[in-house]
């Protein structure tokens, strides 16, 4: 069972990477770009039939390791 997890910086937290990437894209000629925010992406593959259990485990992983909840939010999606 596979999950797609995205970890993003909270709204008011500075995102130095996104800032520089956005600026570079603008310099490359994409004038109608508003903003870029950069985050992390995890593809998690579990040996688990019980999807509720698996999802709970992924949530635990996010809380304990993958995301730093002081500055980051996370989202979990079941992938095919």
């Amino acid at each position: 069972m596979k999950f797609a997890v995205t970890v993003t910086l909270k709204k008011d937290v500075l995102d130095p990477q996104g800032k520089v990437v956005g600026q570079t894209l603008k310099n490359m000629g994409i004038k109608n770009l508003n903003q870029v925010r950069q985050g992390k992406f995890f593809e998690i593959d579990m040996n688990e039939e019980d999807s509720a259990k698996a999802e709970a485990q992924v949530k635990e992983m996010c809380e304990k390791l993958l995301a730093n909840q002081i500055i980051e939010d996370f989202k979990i999606k079941k992938a095919e």
Binding site: P16, V20, V21
Partner: protein
């Protein structure tokens, strides 16, 4: 001999390499990344540091700068180009060198003196060293884990395109002497024509006896040959 050192926002070994070059009487110019023309030079150096903060992928953003198109065309015409650390990453990102530099296998920034073994001196950059010679150099990087596909790796191995491999002081090349997970302990590679060199270790940091050694000087001396 004339040299040009390219400076990006966030470069931080530009001065260091200029000091080493000038010590050997290179006539060096610092070239800001927004320039659109390169002065005529016998050697172009893309120095280490954190161009654009190493954001996105190290070297990726610098590879898009004005001056890089000049560097690319110079490289294609056969000029000598040396990319050190972040410079190596930039040369890869702009396509002058093949492969990829991934996060270090230990996921930590590594900065320390290491040993490399010269694999071949039959080229412009290492002719002052002996093949098999062991050098003490310094590394300092987050993404120095060289990776490439099998076919390219074979090409590198079979054509003496890997001048340096990580080793220990005795020259053993194995997993234990590999600081960052690089495939085949690769510390630096050439392009096919051997006019473009990318390497993770910093030769300019070993160019002064008062500091930690002079093993890196040979590289700059070779270039003067």
């Amino acid at each position: 001999m004339k040299s040009s050192v390219i400076v990006f926002p966030g470069s931080n070994c530009d001065r260091d390499v200029a000091v080493a070059l000038e010590k050997l009487q290179f006539k060096n110019s610092m070239i800001w990344h927004k320039e659109t023309e390169l002065p005529k030079s016998d050697l172009i150096v893309v120095p280490g540091g954190f161009s654009y903060g190493d954001y996105l992928r190290s070297g990726a953003i610098a590879a898009k700068s004005n001056i890089l198109s000049e560097v690319i065309s110079a490289g294609k015409k056969g000029s000598l180009i040396l990319g050190i650390c972040n410079g190596f990453q930039i040369l890869i990102e702009c396509g002058l060198l093949q492969g990829a530099l991934l996060r270090n296998s230990g996921l930590k920034f590594i900065s320390k003196d290491i040993f490399v073994k010269v694999q071949s001196n039959k080229n412009k950059f290492f002719n002052k060293y002996k093949t098999g010679e062991i050098l003490k150099l310094n590394i300092a990087h987050n993404e120095g884990n060289y990776f490439t596909d099998k076919k390219h790796l074979e090409e590198l191995e079979n054509n003496e395109l890997i001048p340096l491999k990580y080793s220990d002081q005795k020259g053993n090349i194995n997993l234990k002497t590999n600081p960052n997970g690089s495939i085949n302990n690769i510390a630096g590679i050439f392009n096919k024509n051997k006019n473009i060199l990318g390497m993770m270790p910093h030769p300019e940091r070993m160019a002064d006896k008062v500091l930690s050694g002079e093993d890196g000087l040979g590289l700059f001396l070779s270039l003067m040959n």
